[in-house]
């Protein structure tokens, strides 16, 4: 085999983390090669996760909105033989456009791309095998592992991609099922549960956690469960221990819990976490090993125990959000190339595309009380806002958290537009602003951003009430 081709940076994986790492290195005039095992750049985010599921969600949101607005006058039903694909007919074009855009960005920045599976053959060297079995070697001064993750398939759940599905195969079901059991209560489980609920499917969510989305504020969790269970036939079953899942051989998947309770549904989605894509990478040859959860351990700058090798994105574990992965990829590359790094890592927002959507940034109420001993909390319900009433998104809630001086520490929002609205709180927290800013500045009217003013007024009132005690 000929000598390896030498690069300044070799990146394995072209998802959000790999893409941003590549662009960052290219901007510094480094010779970069991205190795991608799938056809087309983008990783699971573009081809199997974020983009396809959000396309289906968009249809579900429109349907739910249409029902809400004209449901009293027009009967809105989904035909029983409707093909799921017809609800996602924009997906191909959305994915193609995204791939094209990302590919063009890499080309514009002279990033070389190689389609194949990579494995380490030494600390600086990788062997890449193409689909046709050809092999070539690459040498990288710096290497970034950004291989992403895939759905976890617990041995006790018989996933057959026909009746018992994972979050990859659920998206190409032929037809909408009448009923669906969702195992799990994390982001992916919650997103799919609410999307299918909005499409009229009877969804049973089952998990050992008492409440879904355990990392969120309890009030937001409660609002989420209320909104989910408002859909006909939808229920969250928490504190559950799954004893057995089996296809009854006829027409239903049976999920039995340890307490004897059972759920029957036409399909089941297993969304019990994801596992890092490290198999076949032979990271041991580079001197690396995974931790007990199967992730590659890194420091705060995404550097592994081998100093010139970095890892970013899902392969290093939670939070496994595309936004976080992008920042990790960029940060890893800046660190590798000795470029200045900025702080602010903890202010990356979390966006959860449930229906209604949820977003959070900074500290929640419980975390703020734990960290500062006390805090001020302002709330604004969307049903109190003119825009909330107009748009019919009255189930929304914004929770603003501030310190005793009114300085913004974080926010949690549930309701349509949450993932956009959260950025105002993010900016305020990053700049150390107090909630007064939301009152002093003029916002458009009517908008949902008005919720910040309402919540800020509440915090200001609490601050006034506490002033003598605060000194």
């Amino acid at each position: 085999m000929s000598d390896p081709v030498r690069y300044d940076v070799v990146i394995v994986g072209s998802g959000p983390a790999g893409q941003k790492a590549a662009i960052q290195a290219a901007k510094e005039d480094r010779r970069v090669c991205v190795v991608e095992r799938e056809q087309g750049v983008g990783g699971a985010c573009v081809h199997r996760g974020t983009i396809p599921s959000k396309t289906l969600r968009e249809t579900a949101v429109h349907l739910a909105g249409f029902r809400l607005r004209v449901g009293n006058h027009v009967q809105v039903t989904i035909p029983p033989d409707l093909q799921l694909a017809s609800l996602m007919d924009r997906m191909e074009s959305v994915v193609a456009a995204h791939v094209k855009y990302q590919d063009a960005q890499l080309r514009r920045n002279h990033v070389e791309q190689l389609n194949g599976r990579a494995r380490f053959v030494g600390p600086h060297e990788l062997e890449v095998e193409t689909v046709y079995g050809e092999r070539r070697r690459l040498w990288g001064e710096h290497i970034v592992i950004a291989t992403g993750s895939r759905p976890r398939t617990p041995a006790e759940i018989p996933i057959d991609h026909e009746h018992v599905l994972d979050s990859d195969s659920v998206l190409n079901m032929a037809y909408l099922p009448r009923s669906l059991t969702v195992l799990g209560s994390g982001v992916i489980a919650s997103e799919y549960a609410t999307i299918f609920a909005a499409l009229g499917v009877h969804v049973t969510m089952i998990d050992k956690a008492e409440r879904p989305l355990a990392f969120l504020d309890r009030e937001i969790q409660s609002r989420f469960v209320e909104a989910f269970e408002c859909n006909p036939g939808c229920v969250y079953v928490g504190g559950a221990s799954i004893a057995r899942v089996e296809w009854d051989g006829v027409s239903e998947v049976v999920t039995r819990l340890a307490n004897g309770w059972e759920a029957r549904s036409q399909k089941l989605l297993c969304a019990l976490g994801r596992v890092a894509n490290v198999e076949g990478l032979d990271i041991g040859a580079a001197g690396l090993a995974t931790n007990e959860r199967g992730h590659i351990p890194v420091d705060q700058d995404c550097r592994t125990v081998v100093p010139h090798i970095f890892a970013a994105g899902d392969v290093i574990g939670p939070p496994s959000l595309a936004s976080t992965s992008m920042e990790q990829g960029r940060r890893a590359m800046r660190c590798a190339l000795g470029l200045p790094l900025t702080a602010g890592d903890e202010l990356i927002p979390a966006g959860i595309y449930t229906i209604p959507e949820i977003s959070s940034v900074g500290l929640g109420e419980a975390a703020a009380r734990k960290q500062f001993g006390d805090c001020l909390v302002g709330r604004s319900r969307f049903d109190e806002l003119a825009r909330g009433q107009i748009a019919g998104c009255t189930e929304g809630l914004l929770k603003l958290v501030a310190d005793l001086h009114g300085k913004v520490l974080g926010a949690q929002i549930i309701g349509e537009g949450a993932t956009e609205l959260i950025h105002l709180a993010q900016m305020a927290a990053m700049h150390g602003d107090t909630v007064d800013m939301f009152v002093d500045k003029i916002f458009n009217f009517p908008t949902l951003a008005e919720a910040y003013r309402v919540a800020a007024f509440e915090i200001m009132a609490q601050r006034r009430a506490r002033q003598p005690a605060a000194g």
């Binding site: 033989d81 007919d89 095998e129 689909v131 079995g133 990859d168 998206l171 079901m173």
Partner: protein, 289 residues
Amino acid sequence: MTGAAAMPATSTLHLSELFRKQIAERRLELPMLPGVAAEVLSLVQQESTDAARLSAVIHRDQTLASNILRVANSVAFAARVSVTSLQQAVSRLGMAQITEIAMAVSVKSRVFANPLCAELLKGLWRHSVITGFFTKEIARLRRRNVEIAFLCGLLHDIGKAVLLSNLDRVVTAGKAQVPMDELTAALHEHHAAAGALLAKEWRMPEQLAEAVVCHHDYDKATKFADSAMMVCLADLVAHFLAPTSLGPAATCEAIRGHPVLAALNLYPDQLAELLGKGDQALQLAESMQ
């Protein structure tokens, strides 16, 4: 060409041209979708389908019911205790599998039944079953939904069956045999178009229709390119494992170098895993004869 030898035909008439005209002028005789099969196909598409409804539909056709029992008791389905009733078959094999068998049995009896081409149709049927098996396995390997994959593969060459069924009507002018290579070329050239007509006539779901029409030309699939690509590879694998007189024999090298592998992103070890299931495929084909 055992079947074709018995019929009046001539090589002076260009078979390809005759097929082309028949298709263009909509004069191709399209077999009716058997009533029970139509109902089964419709049931597959309905969310409210349950085992009782499926059994009831199948019970109306005793030939179909007995054929299902025969297949359910075959080696491919490895029943330890013999299946004696349709309900037992449904609960043993599951509704989806029974649906697949029902469709297969119905379509075989109606579309693959021209006695003049019996041998050719038998080979084509075997190839279709094997392609159905591999389409499903490829979908599973790629963690895609396998629900409709078997039917996509099973029906992919149904256009060839339609053309063969029309052969004795199309070729009436001469007495010479149609040379095998001319027949093969003509079938290859026109089977997608004939399949498209049948897909429309039978109101096949879009995914099935695209598999029938686009399995050699998956770039033209508008919605289900992935499905068409899986059928394309399954077709190649089936030709490799069980060559027929109607299709080009595929070599392992040809499969390993085919662009569809890159399109599906299947690596050599995954292809080897797939080829390792050859015996299962052949067993299934045997049981569905």
